[in-house]
């Protein structure tokens, strides 16, 4: 579908509505993400206890021992676990706390509706992306074709409908890869034809390349064993899948009911079975680190220098990056999404969970290009051996930001959230994740590609040579 039949003004009207819708959806996705995170926390709480010997005689939720005659527990009709009287919700028709919370999340996220629908009409592939999202992308690119970087990989903008989907869907992903390649090459052509614009475009081309470089590396990592990683494409895992996973791992454990909790416990002990690491890459919810604390930020846009100025103030109440040694060396990293461009970092603060940074990080970008962008602010612990541990993130939509409003330029505290999408893996960020690095020098050689690894990249390399 396209809007070409409409006049320009009509098109603008419709796109404006779609933008508002998108803002609403971003907020909604965030809300759902929080809810699921809380649910996960609740599930985990039972497993957190040090009592390693689970048995029939403890409550599956709080692990408190059950008596023989009084408070002997009863079986939850939802999960068939023995539950003590404290961990029940409701009277006669009670459920255990987790079963109750699970149902609540299903209701509150609207997932019930999607599930019901999926039962009747099995979800088909590309339908995940909303029409509105597609239109927004298409027309946003068209209107700024000379400056806007290629369409981002789809994992960032999936509508929450995608939650009801199955995991095997990588079709939209590869599709967008093609689009990406096309727009990438068209970018290069654009540059070669308009030498005058080269300076102005330098930045955005840079963005574009980074975006593509990022996807290449993701694609490379999509080996057969890593097939689970395709779920990065989806923002939030569907509840059934989420629990199915834990159930699968249950079968490996021995029989008694409460055993399932240990599979989560194993993540704490550093992953005693191989699958736990893949679980943790699948979604931020499974990360071993409990996300806590807040981050202080101020955002301003400097029109004279065309810079987005992000002042990272401080953090408070962070979790320990190294829980065993109770150590934390936090730093803050910024990206502009969806391209993951403009990587910026603060200095690392040693031995503190309340670091004060007071650093101004600048990102040069034309004001109108902020449309559709989000600022991803992540907090990391810089551990030994270059291990980085994720401590939390804040996502801020930039297109609706009222930079003119003085109040919005002041410092604000943002609660840290678990990761929404983690392209480089969940728990620990690997160094050298960026396969391709680009450098630009001032001789007009815009695209000098180094350390290329993919065939496609080699092709682009050739194109670049020809242009020169």
């Amino acid at each position: 579908m396209d809007l070409n039949l409409l006049q320009t003004l009509e098109k603008d009207r419709v796109l404006e509505v779609l933008r508002r819708d998108k803002q609403l959806r971003i907020i909604e996705e965030d809300r759902i993400r929080r809810m699921k995170y809380e649910l996960q926390e609740l599930r985990r709480r039972g497993a957190k206890s040090f009592a390693r010997q689970y048995g029939e005689r403890t409550c599956a939720r709080c692990q408190r021992p059950l008596g023989k005659f009084w408070n002997s527990g009863a079986v939850c009709r939802g999960c068939s676990h023995r539950i003590c009287s404290r961990c029940r919700v409701g009277a006669a028709d009670w459920k255990c706390t987790v079963c109750h919370a699970y149902r609540e999340v299903k209701i509150r996220s609207g997932e019930w509706f999607l599930e019901e629908k999926a039962k009747k009409f099995p979800v088909t592939t590309d339908k995940y992306e909303t029409v509105g999202e597609k239109l927004l992308k298409t027309y946003n690119v068209l209107s700024h074709i000379s400056v806007v970087p290629p369409t981002p990989p789809p994992h960032l903008d999936y509508h929450f409908l995608s939650r009801s989907g199955d995991l095997k869907n990588s079709k939209p992903f590869t599709k967008s890869m093609e689009n990406l390649m096309v727009s990438f090459t068209s970018h290069i052509r654009k540059i070669s034809t308009s030498q005058n614009d080269v300076q102005g475009d330098l930045l955005s081309v840079d963005n574009g390349r980074k975006a593509s470089c990022f996807t290449y590396s993701t694609q490379k990592s999509l080996s057969d064993t890593d097939i689970n990683k395709t779920t990065h494409l989806f923002k939030v895992p569907s509840l059934p899948n989420l629990f199915k996973k834990s159930k699968d791992s249950d079968h490996e454990g021995s029989s008694t009911g409460a055993e399932e909790e240990t599979s989560f416990g194993s993540e704490y002990s550093g992953g005693k079975r191989g699958s736990s690491s893949s679980i943790s890459t699948e979604c931020g919810l499974f990360e071993g680190i409990t996300v806590a604390g807040e981050l202080e930020l101020a955002l301003a846009y400097n029109t004279s220098t065309s810079c987005l100025e992000i002042t990272v103030g401080a953090c408070r109440n962070l979790t320990y990056g190294d829980a065993k040694k109770r150590k934390c060396h936090p730093y803050v990293k910024l990206y502009v999404l969806p391209e993951r461009s403009g990587k910026m970092k603060t200095a690392v603060k040693k031995n503190t969970t309340d670091p004060v940074f007071n650093e101004v990080l600048k990102y040069q970008i034309e004001r109108h290009l902020l449309f559709g962008k989000r600022l991803q602010v992540t907090v990391w612990h810089s551990g030994s051996l270059r291990r980085k541990v994720f401590l939390g993130e804040v996502l801020i939509p930039l297109d609706g930001w009222r930079f003119e409003d003085k109040a919005s330029q002041y410092f604000n505290w943002y609660p840290l959230c678990p990761k929404a999408e983690s392209p480089s893996g969940g728990l620990v960020e690997q160094d050298g994740g960026e396969l391709v690095k680009f450098s630009s020098n001032n001789q007009g050689e815009l695209l000098k590609l180094s350390s290329l690894k993919c065939l496609q990249e080699k092709e682009t390399h050739l194109t670049v040579r020809q242009i020169r």
Partner: protein
Amino acid sequence: LLHLHPQMASATATYGQKESSDQNFDYMFKILIIGNSSVGKTSFLFRYADDSFTPAFVSTVGIDFKVKTIYRNDKRIKLQIWDTAGQERYRTITTAYYRGAMGFILMYDITNEESFNACPGLVRDWSTQIKTYSWDNAQVLLVGNKCDMEDERVVSGDRGRQLSEHLGFEFFEASAKDNINVKQTFERLVDIICEKMSESLDAGDPAVTGAKQGPQLTEQPAPPHQDCAC
């Protein structure tokens, strides 16, 4: 109650002072208003969301929506109400938005025979479009608007009721101008969505149905206790 003016929506949507209040609701429902051109869909929405009415006719361009948070059954429910253009030329855009809608208001004008006659056609035409999406699962109300214009009425209440029975929807006559049955329509729709919600949850709930479980199998075989957290 919280209502977002279009201009305000983007500002509210960003992080800021209003951020907390913005997420301060229990459910979010998407509702679509459909019907022929000039039956009063936009007026109906404006009456409900803003409590305002303008007699002038302004054709809706493509789609639009308003957000209204209501308090119903002890829950705060955020409604995203989509107003669609009735004109044929926007059909591709409007139908694309059927997906994800949990409730529909199918509207005609009681002073306009054609708009009434169009209803079954709309249902038929659109249901093919919707089938793949959500019509089958969504709740629908049939609404005869402009019931304040009794002198010019051409579609009797009985005919409206008959049609609604035929289509299997509930029926209201309403007036955006005189504010008759507007709130009631939306509230009824919210209620039946809520009913549907608990119905669908309990159906899949082993606690209620016992061991018997009846969702059709999709590509992925469902584990025995799919709906349980444990």
